[in-house]
Symmetry: C2
Subunit: 232 residues, 2 copies
């Protein structure tokens, strides 16, 4: 692959510091593909052949068991997913499907592993990225085990709100039923959780969120960096 996206990929933390020659090696084996919405990119249990990089659009990672399904994460540009499966050369633990029309780069796992062994800077970046993902999951788990559904919603909204710079109106980007699944509740329950946050100055109309009194909401949500900070 050689295209306009190459510099974009190169600018990712994962690829930023590696040697040019090794980056070229990776790119030579790479595919850039555009997928329509609702396409299942990978399936839970399949062998991991490619490391994926979302260039454009959005992808949902989900998992199922015994007829139930849950959203584990949503991946937006520009970031990678299923790095851990690629590293361990193990079957995927989650499925991935496009939410909208998306452009995705596929890097053969064998290439990633080969470059990993010869490029120390890339190795360092892989470890840093993986550690980041791990810590993100720890936070998600703490969120699930330590908070009620209303608390989870309140903190979710505050995270998006502060990340966007405390705007008057904020867009929920994600469909409500998917948000509900991500937060570990049913769509009906999310509806009710939203209503119960009205008492704290939160109004959600369609996908537009308004927070009239952030201090009040913070009083309920009690956010902590050890669960709610993206960095670290």
């Amino acid at each position: 692959m050689r295209s306009a996206e190459t510099p974009l990929i190169r600018s990712l933390p994962l690829f930023r510091d590696m040697a040019e020659a090794n980056f070229d090696t990776l790119m030579r084996g790479a595919y850039l593909q555009t997928f329509p919405p609702q396409i299942e990119l990978i399936t839970e249990g399949d062998p991991s052949d490619f490391l994926h990089v979302v260039i454009d659009g959005s992808v949902e990672l989900c998992a199922g068991w015994n007829g139930r399904e849950t959203v584990m994460a949503t991946v937006r540009p520009i970031s990678t997913f299923i790095l851990a499966a690629t590293i361990r050369n193990a079957p995927y633990l989650m499925s991935a499907r496009t939410l909208e029309k998306s452009r995705i780069v596929l890097l053969p796992s064998v290439d990633v592993q080969a470059v990993f062994d010869v490029d120390a800077a890339f190795a360092r970046a892989v470890v840093t990225e993986l550690a980041q993902c791990y810590r993100g999951l720890v936070k998600h788990t703490k969120d699930l085990k330590l908070r009620t559904s209303v608390e989870r919603l309140a903190n979710y909204l505050l995270r998006k709100y502060t990340a966007a710079g405390a705007p008057a109106a904020l867009d929920l980007v994600i469909e409500k039923r998917r948000l509900a699944s991500y937060l570990g509740m049913t769509p009906e329950n999310l509806s009710r959780a939203i209503k119960s946050l009205q008492a704290y100055g939160v109004t959600i109309e369609g996908s537009t969120v308004r927070i009239s009194d952030p201090a009040d909401l913070i009083g309920l949500a009690k956010p902590t960096p050890r669960i709610d900070d993206a960095a670290h």
Copy 2:
């Protein structure tokens, strides 16, 4: 540090393949300490100064928020913990405390990072270990989100049972209230979950577990490698 434990540590997947000289560097800066039970080794939010290796005893990783607390994992010999915090040089997301008298090796984070940069084999091992931890957490999260508490208990017992080679009697090693917290329920609820498994041939007296009809229990638990297999 130079002691009888050195070869033990050397034999860990994390240190097995690295150059002797680099391993020596790590060991020179290491401390071996013995801690009494119920000692808080690290505290959520503190900066990560050391990578820890449990040589003997057992350590519990837990996390708290707003007066609530939950058990995230139990670490038994011989394995490491808080690798991700060490790598990212970020504050701990979990606290760790000894459950019993334990011997633990402390490796200064700066040493670990320095050796990582010069030893490709060690770097590979770190990545492999981290990816393993990540996948373990994905499974834990799936367990929590997709299963009811009785299903979680049934699968937990089956995992221990098969790992121990399907013995007639199996010891629960962990205190029930901690197991309850790990499985995301209250001690009272665990008691009731245990009773409800009697219908599937499970009896638990004290810390002794007996499974009279594994096939029956499997029918209820519906274990899957994507949640319940330790490997992968």
